[in-house]
Subunit: 442 residues, 2 copies
Amino acid sequence: MSLETTILDRILPSACDVERLKTCAQEVVEEIKDDNLVKEYNAEIMLVGSVAKGTFLSNPDIDIFILFPTSTDRSHLQKIGLEIGKKHLPTYEERYAEHPYTHGTRGGYEMDIVPCYKLESTENIKCAVDRTPFHTKYIKTNMDSEMKDQVRLLKQFAKGIGVYGAESKTEGISGYLTELLIIRYGNFNKVIEAASRWNLGQVVFPNNEKKFKGDPLIVHDPVDSNRNVASAVSIQSFSKFIYAAKEYLKNPSERFFFPNVRTTYSLDGIQHYISKRNTEVIIIELDKPNLIDDNLYPQIRKTLEGVITTLQKENISAIDSDYEVKETSVKFAIEIETLELPSIKQHYGPPVWSENAPSFINKWKSNTFEPYVENGLWKVIIRRDDTNVVSYLNKNLKSSALGKDFRELKGMKITSGKDAICEDNAVILSKMIDKRMSWEVV
Amino acid sequence: MSLETTILDRILPSACDVERLKTCAQEVVEEIKDDNLVKEYNAEIMLVGSVAKGTFLSNPDIDIFILFPTSTDRSHLQKIGLEIGKKHLPTYEERYAEHPYTHGTRGGYEMDIVPCYKLESTENIKCAVDRTPFHTKYIKTNMDSEMKDQVRLLKQFAKGIGVYGAESKTEGISGYLTELLIIRYGNFNKVIEAASRWNLGQVVFPNNEKKFKGDPLIVHDPVDSNRNVASAVSIQSFSKFIYAAKEYLKNPSERFFFPNVRTTYSLDGIQHYISKRNTEVIIIELDKPNLIDDNLYPQIRKTLEGVITTLQKENISAIDSDYEVKETSVKFAIEIETLELPSIKQHYGPPVWSENAPSFINKWKSNTFEPYVENGLWKVIIRRDDTNVVSYLNKNLKSSALGKDFRELKGMKITSGKDAICEDNAVILSKMIDKRMSWEVV
């Protein structure tokens, strides 16, 4: 039995599970179809997503869309959409993408009930979710049941190597993208073979228009050529997928689909690792802002980048860095060469011919070291009062380019040196240090 | 009496000196005119340069050109040119610009006897010196005696602030350029006023063609618009001239024309200065190649830049640097923050999708720290065996982009730390440290 067959055996939902899932989904769809509000607004009900397409793994979300006529006012669509959703979900909460929808559970399944517009074509898209019914129809039309299993394999592979999901947290491959890749290349193995030869800016599903320059992976949406289905894929996810594909071809293993659990390194191990490198670690902890993940993660990455940029301004290079999202706080770890800044700093001013030159000279003329001209620019060597990186950060993070909701530095706690290497920081340090790919974890 | 009048009084050659100079020059010109070879080749003799133009300061060189008909073979022109030169100079040596000429002394004056072609216009220039007769004629035609004194003032000013001379050593303002500036602006004071408002890429003597982009100062040659008379002016000389002009206008003083002599700082003073900065100094001494100054200085600057670039590769920033040309060696001084390199080094490899990725992984897979992927690039952290900057330089200068004749590192001696701050290095360290403009020296 081939590896892929073994994996399929493991991930294919049982006939019984499928039956139960379909019954539940159909029941809700019929129930909503009968809803008076649905009838009043002349809306259509459609089962969409992986359940409708038959490409789901175990325990999928059930996605039900309410398609309103385009004549419906947008605020009405939102209000009525929520009202209908709430009626049919015993437990629910409102969630927000481009507009609000209802998320809840029923019959043991997670369920989304989402209002959108019913359109003739994707040309007049009003909202990203309006595309979903078209995607569902496209996949249902272009995929046989064998291909659906291949999609499941690819989804599990992407999950295993840590790149499954287009949400900001992962910046990886969406379910729809795995489906398009299977349609494009034929089966799981052919996708992997192709991916092992991909290059930066790879175009899959080509289109005559030269668009999406700068995206690592370009997959024109067959239902809407104005959209790159892979636009969420970060360069990190893209390269991880390529490397995983190369490695899988050389040495296929179930570890790509089901990696071992990564354990946190011991404090001793972390200490040993850092001392071998003779580097220093700074941990910055900040209160976690109350945001949904899709807003939180971009802000976390921006904050980490902002800290690194602030260090670079002082010619301090971040050797490594990472972050950890905790219950009520976010931790940032940065590895640097030394905690000491040099005693002096080179400060460049305006060129000699600039009208700002006199004020620069004036500002610095009483400096310990007089300003002078270097290749046309005024320059001055400034002595630093404080040569500690942590106090530098304490003074300058406020004015750094951090994520919007981190800028107030609420709850900031900076630890460094030996203090930073403690049990409380073991998880983030371990995460930063552990460079193994998921399938390499033993 | 105005400052400028005082200066003029001091720099104007006496009537007696002028008489003696003119008599000597005329005597040689007449003598060469009578030379049989000159007659045989139908050559013309012309007194050129500052003596001919009457813009000389004390003790000028006398420049006599032998203008050969264009029908003369170039190798003949060179051979006969030298032969004539030697006959009329009691002591002489051959010198080389684009072609050889005779330099010697006669009657107490330095004298150049230079062969060139006699041309109708500058359109068919064969060699840079062919332009000189045109320059001489242009200035003689366009300058009255009052302007000539203004040229002398400007020359002395440029000399005083250290930017007089187009040769590689100075990269400054040539005599011809001072003359054109006086013609363009009218007198010394107006040149200074204009220069105080100059900007990078300043165009003087404008011409419709947009040329010489990147040159700090653009002065189209009135006798040949294909040439920027200021092409030799470095950004450092350019900005020094502008700053001097600004300062002179604020506070005119004879110090701009006749600066005080700079004395070498005491070793104690140097030591105190360096320790206030808490920096380190590296001195590299190399044998001086046997080159004329116009070839030597560009190579020295390239060598210093090459050393700085080599340091930058290890993220070591040169805070300051300088060089000193000695009798048989050249010294380079570089000020850096510390003599210690970090224990580790970040080394970036090819991107994941590159065909070179496997060999990078293979090369580093047994490294203390395993290679990993960062934003699509393979990266590895390498431990350094040797963390001393001097040994790093010793190992890597050979492959640095140094001046051609320095590349073999003949006679290399590197000193650093306390060893570098010794009597033997006092001159170069003093030169590097002393940031005063020449007119600021008290």
